[in-house]
């Protein structure tokens, strides 16, 4: 006599998850575009980034930068209905190293150790244009970007700790293209600041996505972010402050 197998809750969840994961991606494209129901996307990525920029600290100038890719985190969440969606992103990275500091006054140039951490969080509202019948779409987005710089510069006589953060308005666009049943790509960019927060900030990114299952895509992306910022009160200024690098991630949509 064969006894029907009994499955516990964990097994049932596992079977359910497997069914979702292994489901054919045939309808996945439709899910990405103009879904009249509430839908969401969770997109954590490993961010292999580098950072560099020219920093002025009151009367000292230094270059922070390391072309070596650092493992960092970047993630985004989207929640939408129809053409509208809200997008939140978060990324953080950091570098440390030794650099030459140009000092005004008798000390001249000295070597210094530094730690630089960058944190960026964004919140956008986006609206999609174009026909859902086509294989491409434009989204225009606007919102706010929060940026935090933490820079510690240590020399023989002590350590200077600098913390700067600001919020700035951002406007941008994202172009989405279907490339057959399996692949899709996006190009997105935005401009922010204009004296409110940073002097200017600028992002451009390209993403290639592969549909693994109905609900999961693998993504490879390149993101370039540059900001120009100064704070007269503290004397902190960064020019051509760039963080860029590659993202490898999984994109869960439901």
């Amino acid at each position: 006599m064969v006894t029907p197998a009994r499955y516990g809750p964990a097994a049932r969840w596992a079977v359910l998850a497997a069914a979702i994961l292994l489901g054919a991606p045939a309808d996945a494209a439709a899910q990405d575009r103009g879904n009249p129901d509430w839908h969401y996307v969770v997109h954590p990525t490993l961010w292999f980034s580098n950072v560099d920029g020219e920093v002025t600290l009151d009367e000292a100038e230094l270059v922070v930068g390391d072309s070596t890719l650092q493992a960092a985190f970047y993630g985004s969440v989207e929640v939408g209905k129809g053409r509208w969606r809200g997008i939140g992103t978060f990324r953080t990275t950091g570098i440390s190293g030794t650099t030459e500091v140009e000092l005004d006054g008798p000390l001249g140039d000295v070597m210094a150790d530094y730690d630089f951490d960058l944190t960026v969080a964004e919140l956008f509202a986006a609206v999609e244009f174009g026909s859902f019948e086509t294989n491409h779409a434009f989204e225009f987005l606007g919102g706010l970007r929060y940026v935090r710089h933490a820079l510690d510069v240590g020399v023989d006589i002590g350590t200077q700790v600098t913390r700067e953060d600001w919020i700035e308005p951002v406007a941008g666009a994202r172009y989405y293209a279907e490339m057959g049943r399996l692949f899709w790509a996006t190009i997105d960019g935005n401009i922010g600041g204009f004296g409110i927060g940073s002097d200017i900030s600028w992002v451009v990114a390209g993403t290639l996505g592969v549909r693994i299952t109905r609900h999961i895509d693998a993504t490879l992306a390149m993101r370039y972010y540059q900001t120009e910022f100064h704070d007269d009160a503290t004397g902190y200024r960064i020019q051509e402050g760039v963080s860029q690098g590659w993202h490898i991630g999984l994109r869960w949509k439901g």
Partner: protein, 493 residues
């Protein structure tokens, strides 16, 4: 990249040469345009080929109706052409020019992947004209093989990215990636549309040969695709959308004076212009670039022969109001702008939200207006601090406002005035903000048949406010007087 520069010059000249066959095609549109021009703007009428250019009698129905490219997207040919657009410049740089940046391999590829992008220091023409033209090759590799505008745009982005990462051993340039891709989309689509009007699948003999050669120079990738598919020597039906509802081409030639705000006596020389007004910007916006304007200017007495290269194409549009007296429309536009002469360098890619209107004053006269808030995606403008930037110009981004108005007689623009104010925050170069103002006035009047006289006054003002350097204020007036030849016999509509 000298090969590329040569290619761009040839292409620009070919466009001017191509004006004649283009004009021939449009002679038949004159009646429709004349009648339509009395309305403002005129309704779209189907273009009818002139009697001599209809299907040849020896072409069988089967051949005449045989569709040329493409029932499906030709991925293989596209990849071959994009590969050629990379390998040929690389081979030239590596083995002809002995350019050290062309020594590439896995080590340089990994280094570029790891280090990412930087801003490069190439000259203005290379960065803001040659690279966008190269992007147009990537774009048209797709466009001429069955991909639509947007899909071809993806090829421009992808091709440019691959070249920057793997085509040279120096770090990829973020400005090159963007200028090549975005500018390449505008240049590519404009040249694609122009070449399609030149190619005639129904023609034979000498005319066919000339058309194939002319189209090839305008759109090399499109020509290569026709060659691959054997379409160059095959007769068949022309595509339904070969011609827009209206088209106007002009060749202008005359005298030019450009000054430098009294700093020196200025430069005098000859000037030659080619203008293409493709489609009706007030009505044709079903597909991207259904209506666009293209303008190239060659300057004598200058080191840089191509002094101006402009494209303004509609990406999307909608009608806001239509009545016998007035028509209001909205059009999202892509702009490509390049000015390079002895007094200034400025240009880049932008998008504009353009509100266009046209009022009928009478059966003969009408007034058009344009209000276009504009976002500068990537812009370059001259800088005095080349020692610091290692360039004669700075890169930046920003926004602006473009205003325009013109007076038209029977649909032909008699007088036009445009004003643009752009503010650019520098991203690379001398830190600061640069205001740019353009005043452009144009007038032309037909004298005899297709020929007339025309003139333009340009005033370019640059007000550069630098963080670390003294501010700079420059005014560059420019005067053009020329004879104008309406090679299309068309009308502004």
């Amino acid at each position: 990249m000298s090969g590329l520069r040569h290619g761009t010059l040839v292409a620009a000249l070919a466009l001017a040469v191509a004006a004649a066959p283009l004009a021939g095609q449009d002679a038949g549109a004159k009646k429709a345009n004349d009648a339509a021009a009395r309305e403002t703007p005129a309704p779209i009428t189907a273009w009818t080929p002139p009697p001599g250019l209809g299907p040849l009698t020896d072409v069988s129905d089967a051949q005449a109706n045989e569709p040329f490219c493409c029932d499906s997207r030709e991925l293989g040919v596209t990849l071959i052409e994009i590969g050629a657009a990379m390998v040929i410049p690389w081979y030239f740089n590596r083995h002809v020019s002995d350019d050290s940046t062309a020594v590439i391999g896995p080590d340089t590829w990994w280094a570029n992947v790891e280090e990412g992008f930087e801003w490069d220091h190439d000259n203005f023409k290379t960065n803001m004209f040659a690279h966008p033209y190269h992007g147009g090759l990537y774009f048209n590799a797709g466009r001429s093989n069955g991909y639509n505008f947007w899909e071809s745009a993806a090829w421009a982005w992808g091709g440019s990215f691959l070249w920057e990462m793997f085509g040279e051993n120096n770090r990829g340039a973020i400005n090159d990636w963007l200028a090549t891709a975005v500018g390449g989309i505008a240049i590519g689509e404009a040249l694609h549309r122009a070449s399609v009007t030149v190619w005639d699948n129904e023609a034979t003999g000498t005319e066919r040969a000339l058309r194939e050669i002319g189209g090839f120079f305008i759109n090399p990738m499109g020509g290569a695709s026709r060659l691959f598919r054997g379409e160059m020597s095959r007769t068949g039906a022309n595509p339904d959308d070969r011609f827009p509802a209206s088209v106007r081409t002009n060749l202008n030639g005359g005298f030019r004076h450009v000054g430098d705000a009294g700093a020196d006596p200025g430069t005098d020389g000859w000037v030659g212009q080619f203008e293409l007004d493709y489609g009706n910007p007030l009505r044709d916006f079903e597909n991207p670039f259904d209506a666009f304007t293209f303008r190239v200017q060659l300057n004598g007495g200058e080191d840089e022969r191509i002094g101006l290269f402009q494209i303004r194409g509609g990406l999307w549009g909608t009608e806001l109001r239509d009545s016998p007296q007035v028509r209001h429309t909205f059009r999202l536009e892509q702009l490509f702008h390049y000015i390079n002469n002895r007094t200034t360098e400025t240009g880049g890619s932008a998008v504009a939200a353009s509100f266009n209107s046209h009022w009928s004053l009478s059966d003969t006269w009408g007034v058009g207006t344009r209000v276009a808030p504009t976002a500068l995606l990537l812009w370059g403008v001259a800088s005095e601090y080349a020692d610091f930037t290692r360039r004669t110009y700075d890169f930046g981004t920003g926004f602006g406002l473009i205003l325009g108005s013109d007076l038209r007689m029977n649909g032909t623009r008699i007088v036009g005035v445009d004003w643009a104010s752009l503010v650019q925050k520098n991203l690379s170069g001398a830190s600061g903000t640069v205001w740019q103002h353009y005043l452009i006035t144009r007038a032309s009047y037909p004298i005899v048949g297709r020929f007339g006289i025309g003139g333009e006054y340009w005033l370019f003002i640059r007000d550069s406010n630098y963080t670390d350097f003294p501010d700079v204020y420059r005014r560059h007036p420019e005067v053009l007087l020329y004879l104008t030849w309406d090679t299309s016999e068309g009308r502004f509509r």
